[in-house]
Amino acid sequence: MADKIKIAQYWGAGCGGCDVALLDIDAKILDVHAIAEVVFWPIGFDGKLSEIEAMPDKSITVSFYNGAIRNSENEHVAKVLREKSAVMIAFGSCACFGGTPGLANVTNKKEVFQTVYKDTASTDNPDFVTPQTQLKVPEGELDLPEFYDSVKTLDEVVDVDYFMPGCPPTVNLIALAVDAVAKHVTEGADLPPKGAVIASDKTLCDECDRERVETGRRIEKIYQSYEIKADPKKCLLDQGIICIGPATRAGCGSMCPKANMPCRGCMGPTKAVMDHGGSMLSALSSLLNITDSESKLSEEQIMELMMQVKDPLGTFYAFTLPKSLLKRTVTEKRKRKG
C-alpha cells in the first residue's frame, strides 16, 4: 500500500451529490483503487481532520473539494487540504462557481437566520435562538463554525489547480480526470496546465444535436418549460424555452436537452466569458422577435416584452452567482424621490 497515491474528498456547502458522483464511475473505481488510497472522505467513512492536519505538507496527491464556502469550517478545511495536497481540484459547480447554495448571495446571514430559525412555519423558536460561534457550558467551551454573509467559491479562499464543473461532474469527465492522474502517476505523463477546466472549451450548443434555425432565428414568445410540450428534435431556445446552452460550457454530453429539458447552466461559462448571466442575457435579448413596426414600439412595450423573462437573476445565474462580476446583491442607501 505504501506506493499508492493518497486522495481526499471533502464536502463544503454542497448536497452530497458530488460525493456520490465519484462512485458513479462504475468499474473505473477499480482503477482508482489500484493506484490510490483514500485518506479523508467524511461522507464515506470516519476520519478525523486532526489526522490530516498532522500529515506532512503536499503528502496528499489529489484533493477533490466539492461544495461552496459557506462558513468558517468550509474555509478552514479547504486551507488544510490545500496545504496538504499536491493537486487541489474544485469538484462540481458549487466549488467552481458557488452553485445552487451561491444563490443565497441575494440575501445575507441576518435574513437567512431570520427565515431558518424564526419565520418558517415549522419553527418553534420564541426566543429566536440562533447558532453562536462560541458557548460556555459547565463542561467547557463549545464552538460552531461562523456562518458567512456571502457564499464564496473555492478559488476565492485557496489556490485551485483544476476545475471540474457540473452538477455533479459527469462520469465521462471524472473518468478523464482519473485517467490523467493515473497516467501521471503510473507513466509519468504530464498533468494538464494549471487552472485547466476539465471539460470542453466550446459551448453546449456545439455538442447539442437538436436542429436549430441557422439564419434569421427569432423567438416570438418566451415559455416556461411547463407551459408547452417541447418538440424533442428542435432547439429549445427556438421554441421559446430559455435554455442557457449558448452561454454554457460543453462537456456534459448535453444530457438535459437530450431529456427534453433546457440547460440550466451548471457547467458555467466558457473561458471567453467573465459573467455567465450577462452572456446569456445578451444571447437571449438578441433572439427576441424584431418586426417591421419595431421603430414604433415604445420603451414601455419593450419593457413589457422583456418582463416575459421571469427572475433573470435566478435564471441566468442559477449556478454562478458568486462567480459573477457582481458576486452578490447590494443595498442602495437612498431611495430616489418620486
Binding site: L281, L284, S285, E294, I302, D311, F316, L325, L326, V330
Partner: protein
C-alpha cells in the same frame, strides 16, 4: 453590508458633500459620439463627471461591459445610440434596447436602483440633447449618491 461583502473594496466611506459621481457613457460611433462631439464644439456646458467610451454600435455594448462598470464602482452608466430606424447597422439599436431593458430588471434584482442605467437615443445633430441627457442623468445619479458597491456601509 458586512466586511464579508466582496464588493465593498478598500475605499473609504464617501460623504455626501464630496461626492463626485463617476458616470460611464457608451456612445455609438455613427450618431451619439458625433452628437457628443457637437455638444463639445458648441461649448455647451455640462457637469464633468462622465467619461465617454466610443463603440461602433450601441449593440456592441455587451451586458458584461455594464456589469463590469458597476463592479468597478461606476455610479451610473449611460448607453447612447442612434434613434430607432436610424441605426447605421439597421437593427443594432433594437437589440440594445432589449438588452438594456432586461439589464435594468437584472440590476434591480442585484439591489441597484435601475435609474443608474440609462439608455438614450442621440443623433449626430443633437448636441443639445446630449447636453440635456448628461445634465439630467448626473442629477439622477447625484440624488442616488455613491454606488452601493463603492459606498461601503
Amino acid at each position: 453590508m458586512s466586511s464579508a461583502t466582496p464588493n465593498a473594496g478598500g475605499e473609504h466611506k464617501l460623504e455626501q458633500e464630496d461626492f463626485e459621481p463617476r458616470i460611464l457613457v457608451f456612445c455609438c460611433n455613427w450618431c451619439s459620439y458625433a452628437g457628443a462631439d457637437l455638444a463639445g464644439v458648441s461649448r455647451l456646458q455640462m457637469p464633468p463627471h462622465f467619461r465617454v467610451i466610443r463603440v461602433m454600435c450601441s449593440a456592441r455594448v455587451d451586458p458584461e461591459f455594464v456589469l463590469r462598470a458597476f463592479q468597478k464602482g461606476a455610479d451610473g452608466v449611460l448607453v447612447a445610440g442612434c434613434h430607432p430606424a436610424d441605426c447605421h447597422y439597421i437593427g443594432g439599436n433594437y437589440r440594445t434596447r432589449r438588452r438594456i431593458a432586461l439589464l435594468r430588471i437584472l440590476l434591480q434584482q442585484f439591489g441597484f436602483d435601475p435609474g443608474r442605467l440609462k439608455l438614450e437615443w442621440i443623433s449626430a445633430g443633437e448636441g443639445e440633447r446630449f447636453q440635456k441627457t448628461i445634465v439630467e442623468f448626473t442629477d439622477v445619479v447625484n440624488e442616488l449618491g455613491p454606488s452601493p458597491v463603492r459606498g461601503g456601509d
